[in-house]
């Protein structure tokens, strides 16, 4: 094992002695890279956005924007990181920096370095220019938000995790849409064509605790078998919040987000199997429209900054009742593949959650993959109810997977989030639909059943009454959008 180090703006910097809870943000600031700012310390504002060289899909390496406040610096051992300071200097501005500066895209300037990094990641997205102006990705559901895509292929969702309190965003939008193609001699553009930094097994000891990245799945399972109390870390978008806001600390952190066995995507005749450690962004790109329900979900799942780090397995592993993948995956009848030293077992997602942030996963067991059976339901939809369209936590989330033949509902799977201590299936509603005609009258009656699903609470996000109302409304809305169900390819 090489001694741990991170390449920051081209310089190799040793990582000796850092504690597992030391964030990339604090570590960078401690090294004098003060452009990286703390605005919220929970991955909501993007003021700490930095660029990390990650494996790409359209090119070997992709510059990926991540929230430095959530990521332990130890998790970047062996990786390459670039900050706003590394992109350009006052004397030699980067094109992204120049566009923001001259268009009035900065006022107080505090969020600006983070915007620069998020915008630069999209500037360097290898398939950016290939995308049309009206939709971000071939195969995506037609999106009403045409104004969110620039003529240069820039997808404003790339900035959905960055908050600015001063400008009102219009000049930042103009700056993003004014960007051209990186010139050939641009070193960051050239870097995309070389392989990404290899993932090395890591052990960093500091602050009386250790951070370990095993080399492979057997190594991880062995380690967890011996230390079942260890904290399993994937994208750190959940634990990072606990570290910063609730002062969570762990004696041993075991990083599983780069385990090769957890990073495959297999499309077979009977199922699509998604490796648990693939990030939401990677899943979106690799699926390339094969799972339409997930395509509806992705733009509504947190922000691009979070999706770049958060893994699909992690979203299930936290067991949160308001994670957005669970309702969608329940509608797809998905199951979870759990690995342990004894082997693998497959658990239907509908049976996975057992209580608030609790599941059937045993200590030492890891989610290896998520399996979606084929064919998929033909009528699918993902409805997220939240205060803000970009980057908000669901008050209610509903995934629909229905098959309607000859005007009769043959099969129904409805996944719900935000209305109980766990994600759950709307089984009473499913029963009220199946075998019955897909008519307004029947749907209205089923919607009344659906409004009674779960046990929603009053909280700061929504009232219980609104949550219940939204369940019923979701079904009514689905019906108006699918009065005559179209064939939806699986």
């Amino acid at each position: 094992m090489q001694s741990p180090a991170v390449t920051v703006n081209g310089q190799v910097v040793p990582l000796d002695g850092v504690a597992p809870h030391t964030t990339a943000l604090d570590w960078l600031r401690g090294r004098g890279l003060l452009g990286c700012k703390e605005g919220c310390a929970e991955g909501e504002c993007g003021a700490c956005s930095v660029l990390v060289a990650r494996p790409g899909v359209a090119a070997p390496t992709q510059w990926t924007a991540l929230n430095a406040c959530l990521l332990p610096i130890a998790a970047l051992d062996g990786q390459e990181l670039v900050t706003a300071e590394g992109l350009g200097t006052p004397a030699a501005l980067h094109p992204v920096q120049r566009e923001i500066a001259v268009r009035g895209g900065s006022q107080c300037g505090y969020c600006t370095p983070g915007f620069v990094c998020s915008m630069a990641a999209e500037y360097y997205r290898p398939d950016r220019a290939a995308a049309g102006p009206s939709t971000g990705r071939p195969g995506a559901a037609a999106e009403p938000d045409g104004h969110l895509h620039g003529p240069n292929g820039f997808d404003l969702h790339a900035l959905s995790g960055n908050l600015c309190r001063c400008t009102g965003y219009r000049p930042l939008r103009d700056a993003a849409f004014a960007l051209g193609e990186p010139p050939a001699e641009d070193p960051f553009a050239a870097r995309r064509d070389a392989p990404p930094p290899p993932v090395a097994a890591t052990r960093v000891v500091g602050g009386g605790a250790e951070f370990v990245r095993p080399a492979d799945l057997p190594g991880a399972l062995d380690l967890l078998a011996g230390r079942p109390g260890a904290l399993v870390l994937a994208g750190s978008t959940d634990w990072g919040v606990d570290v910063n806001l609730r002062a969570a600390r762990a004696a041993l952190v075991v990083a599983v987000d780069r385990l090769p066995e957890l990073r495959t995507l297999d499309v077979g005749p009977e199922s699509v199997e998604i490796g648990a450690a693939l990030t939401l962004t990677e899943v979106e790109t690799l699926l390339a429209g094969r799972v339409p329900l997930l395509d509806e979900l992705f733009p509504q799942f947190a922000s691009r900054l979070i999706r770049n780090g958060a893994t699909i397995g992690g979203n299930l592993g936290t067991g949160s009742p308001i994670g957005d993948t669970a309702p969608a995956l329940l509608a797809l009848d998905a199951s979870v593949v759990l690995a342990s030293p004894e082997g693998e077992r497959e658990v239907p997602l509908a049976d996975y959650h057992t209580g608030y942030r609790q599941s059937v996963r045993r200590p030492g067991e890891l989610i290896r993959a998520v399996r979606i059976p084929l064919p998929q339901p033909r009528v699918v939809a993902f409805h997220k109810i939240a205060k803000r369209r970009f980057d908000d936590i669901s008050s209610v989330a509903v995934g629909f997977g229905l098959d309607v033949e000859d005007g009769v509902v043959r099969r129904a799977r409805i996944g719900l989030g935000g209305v109980a201590a766990t994600p759950l299936r709307a089984r009473a509603t499913e029963a009220a639909l199946v075998g019955r005609p897909w008519t307004e009258e029947m749907v209205r009656s089923a919607a009344r059943v659906m409004a009674g699903e779960g046990t929603p609470l009053d909280d700061h996000r929504a009232s219980a009454a609104y949550r219940s109302a939204m369940l019923g409304q979701a079904l009514l809305r689905l019906h108006t959008q699918h009065r005559t169900p179209q064939e939806v390819g699986a």
Binding site: K37, A84, P90, G104, S106
Partner: protein, 814 residues
């Protein structure tokens, strides 16, 4: 035209230049207060001990366990305060309290070698408290009669007679939320003691002079022994006008007691749970209209939620009362104000400073009453706009109402309002599940501090021997572009290129006794002071140049870095040469500038006078689309026209207009401050105390189409280079969005439906509004007498006359 407003032909003001720090911002090299920590040795970190009770008495505070935590250096308590244990100017804000007044109130602070050590130390401090009864909601406070400060009334005419004579009388209630500033940079101070015992505090503060004053009185020092510097702020919005003082004082106290620099930076949760916000308000009102919908009388009582201490609540309330009329002529007015005392953070200044709250009341009244009057809201609003010769309810003539009319017409034209209204109606007819709304609303906002004494500014300008210029002024930079404008003013006045002028960070030892950078007045006050200082230097240089050029001093012109005579054929001398000549002739190349706004007077007991130098006008039209299934909506288009006079810096001004508008949209639609009002253990807790629960506007809230125009031909007589203030007024352009949402919700019901809309109008609030419209429930507006009667003020309430006015009163008698 006055000398102050006259603009030379080739002025640097008026050119669209980027923010002076833009290049530093984008490269991550602009420094903020907390960045200085990394350049300072041996810094101690401060962490608060916050008590999780809405109201409680501190019976015992045991700091011993904290001192046993490795790395903890000291715990600061009330016993350590050598001066006055108070963080405010009203002496009702103990810095180290023995009574917890809100959930999360800090009772002491722990200093540690690292932030982690200080945090662990704070967790180890043992606080015994006796919980006391608490008032959390404004309604609870009203019911309990819990008020603080004065209870002023703005009065004109005979409101009862006006209501009696009205063809239509309506009455109702309206309660609406405040707003968290959510400056991206949280509060921060870094204090140290220099070799002579002087205290130096770097603070993220909009009001360095007051920070200096509070630090001095807490430490028992004179003001001259304390220096406060503010490099720049990562946003302020009013939240750093009063709130930084106590935090700076804690850091300074720690520095004096330990001899080491002390850093105090609040994390986001601490910032949101400990510092004040925009006041939420409750209003009860009666309003009378004539047959044609012309306002006849308004009787209202506004109660603001002041939180636990007065802070700036009185002036905020005064401004609210002075803006209830917004842009509308109301013959008979009685508007009472009072400040509820609740167990919450002490609410404070926030962009608009009560103005938005006052204006929101009348806009809500008009929005709810228009359908009841059988008028569309745009017609009702236009019909009531101020016209020539009218005065405000507090007696100030409304100057330039024709600009308001012009802005209104410009928006109608540029937004294609009539045709798009028809399109919206046609869309709504054809669309059962989605409805649109298009609304237009005006803004009239008074510029100047209500309190006359604050309307002064200072500057210190140096010209060095090489011709370079260094400007100091009393204003602070929080992103609003003040420094950019000041550089442009200095370059214009001295006739040098922008690049010759540099600006130094704001420091109390350069320009003393400054007013807060607030009330949108930063450029007006400091710009005039910078101009004054530059004019003094220019006058001296003109003498030198006159001799050199052989012309009269009055005929010397400074422009573009050269100095020349007035004649076309005049010889030209480089600026640098004139400066050099002046130095050798022993001419002073430095000047202190000063400005006081002329023509203001205000009697805050009678709530009458002319407190404002001028009014800033704006008009906005907004179109929204609402989903009937969920209440979710999108902002399809906004057209804004705003009056900034003759702009000092158009790129900066447009940024202020757009940013203010979107921030206003956030306040009115999205940003949801929720306090735990239950009787459970969390009572009084702010439940939306983080970025994940308190949602700011993001890219998804930007209008798909956003057109912004500056009102043409609007040069303002008597303001620096003909410009107008711009910081606050555009926030209120966002009323158009709220009213468009109301209209879209109403479209789910039968024609003529009046809709109550909660504020913020979150998707949930819009859903319930449109559900009521669908059920033809109508708004909760009473028609006719007696209706809802506003409470009248307590005659026993303390006087609102501030100290400075008492001084003036005494002086005028002697």
């Amino acid at each position: 035209m006055s000398a102050l407003s006259e603009r030379p032909a080739d002025a640097v003001v008026g050119t669209a230049v980027p923010h002076e720090s833009a290049v530093l911002h984008v490269t991550g090299t602009a420094l903020y207060t907390d960045d200085l920590v990394h350049r300072t040795k041996d810094v101690l970190h401060a962490h608060p001990v916050q008590v999780p009770h809405a109201h409680a008495r501190v019976r015992d505070l045991r700091t011993g366990p904290a001192l046993r935590v490795p790395g903890v250096v000291r715990v600061l308590t009330a016993a350590d305060v050598p001066g006055v244990n108070d963080a405010g100017v009203k002496h009702d804000e103990p810095l180290f309290p023995d009574e917890v007044m809100f959930h999360g109130h800090a009772v002491c602070w722990v200093l540690g070698e690292t932030l982690e050590a200080a945090r662990l130390g704070a967790a180890a401090v043992e606080v015994d408290v006796e919980p006391l009864p608490s008032l959390v909601s404004i309604r609870d406070a009203v019911e309990a009669g819990s008020f603080q400060g004065g209870q002023p009334t703005v009065r004109r005419g005979d409101v009862e007679a006006g209501l009696d004579a009205s063809a239509h009388v309506f009455s109702g209630e309206f309660e609406f939320s405040g707003q968290e500033h959510f400056y991206l940079e949280t509060h921060c101070a870094l204090a140290s003691v220099d070799e002579s015992g002087q205290v130096f505090v770097q603070s993220s503060t909009q009001h360095p002079s007051e920070t200096q004053e509070i630090v001095a009185h807490v430490l028992g020092l004179s003001n001259s022994e304390v220096t406060v510097q503010c490099l720049r702020m990562g946003g302020g919005f009013g939240g750093k006008e009063m709130q930084p003082h106590g935090l700076a004082a804690v850091a300074a106290l720690g520095a004096t007691l330990t001899g080491r620099p002390v850093r105090l930076r609040l994390d986001r949760t601490q910032d949101m749970t400990m510092t004040g916000k925009r006041h939420g308000f409750h209003a009860r009102w009666r309003v009378g209209f004539d047959e044609d919908g012309r306002l006849q009388a308004l009787d209202a009582t506004l109660t603001s939620d002041g939180g636990w201490s007065l802070d700036l609540s009185e002036p905020v309330l005064a401004r609210a009362l002075c803006h209830v009329d917004n842009a509308y002529w109301i013959p008979h007015v009685r508007v009472n104000g009072r400040i509820a005392r609740t167990h919450k953070t002490s609410q404070t200044a926030f962009r608009g400073f009560g103005g938005p709250q006052g204006m929101l009341v009348i806009e809500d009244v008009l929005g709810r009453c228009a359908p009841l009057l059988g008028l569309d809201a745009a017609t009702l609003r236009q019909r009531n706009l101020y016209t020539a010769g009218r005065t405000t309810p507090y007696g100030q003539p409304v100057r330039h109402p024709e600009r308001l009319a012009r802005a209104w017409q410009q928006v109608l034209d540029s937004a294609d309002f009539a045709a798009r209204s028809a399109q919206v109606a046609a869309f709504n007819d054809a669309s059962p599940h989605t409805k649109r709304g298009l609304a237009i609303t005006p803004v009239k906002f008074g510029i100047s501090f209500n309190l006359t004494a604050f309307n002064q500014g200072g500057a210190l300008v140096h010209v060095y021997k090489d011709g370079s210029v260094l400007v100091n002024h009393g204003g602070t930079e929080m992103g609003q572009g003040l420094h950019t404008k000041m550089l442009q003013v200095a370059a214009t006045t001295l006739g040098v290129p922008l690049g010759r002028v540099r600006l130094a960070p704001t420091r109390t030892d350069k320009v003393p006794n400054t007013s807060a950078t607030a009330a949108s007045s930063g450029a007006d006050l400091n710009g005039a002071a910078v101009k004054n200082a530059c004019e003094q230097i220019r006058g001296r240089l003109a003498q030198v140049a006159a001799e050199r050029l052989g012309v009269a001093p009055a005929d010397v012109r400074f422009t573009g870095g050269v100095v020349r005579g007035i004649a076309f054929a005049s010889e030209q001398v480089p600026w640098e040469e004139v400066v050099r000549l002046a130095y050798f002739q022993r001419v002073q190349l430095s000047a202190a500038g000063f400005y006081r706004t002329e023509g203001l007077h205000w009697d805050s007991a009678a709530m009458q006078g002319e407190p404002f130098k001028y009014f800033s006008y704006g008009v906005a039209a907004a179109e929204v689309e609402v989903d009937g299934f969920t209440g979710a909506y999108t902002l399809r288009r906004a057209d804004l026209v705003h009056d900034v006079g003759d702009s000092l810096s158009p790129l900066v001004d447009i940024g202020q207009i757009e940013g203010g508008f979107v921030q206003g949209v956030g306040w009115l639609t999205l940003e949801d401050l929720r306090w735990d009002e239950s009787d459970g253990p969390g009572r009084g807790r702010l439940t939306t105390a983080s970025a994940s629960t308190y949602k700011l506007p993001s890219f998804s809230e930007v209008p798909e189409v956003l057109n912004v125009g500056l009102l043409a031909d609007a040069a303002e007589e008597g303001a620096v280079y003909g410009s107008k203030a711009v910081g606050e007024p555009p926030l209120m352009l966002a009323f158009s969005v709220r009213e468009a949402l109301r209209q879209a919700a109403a479209a789910f019901g039968p024609p003529g439906t009046s809709v109550d809309l909660a504020s913020p109008a979150t998707p949930e609030a819009v859903f319930w509004a449109l559900e009521r419209a669908r059920c033809t429930e109508g708004a909760h507006v009473d028609e006719g007498a007696p209706g809802v009667r506003p409470d009248q003020p307590d005659p026993g309430a303390p006087a609102v006359r501030p100290y400075s006015e008492q001084v003036q009163h005494v002086l005028s008698r002697t």
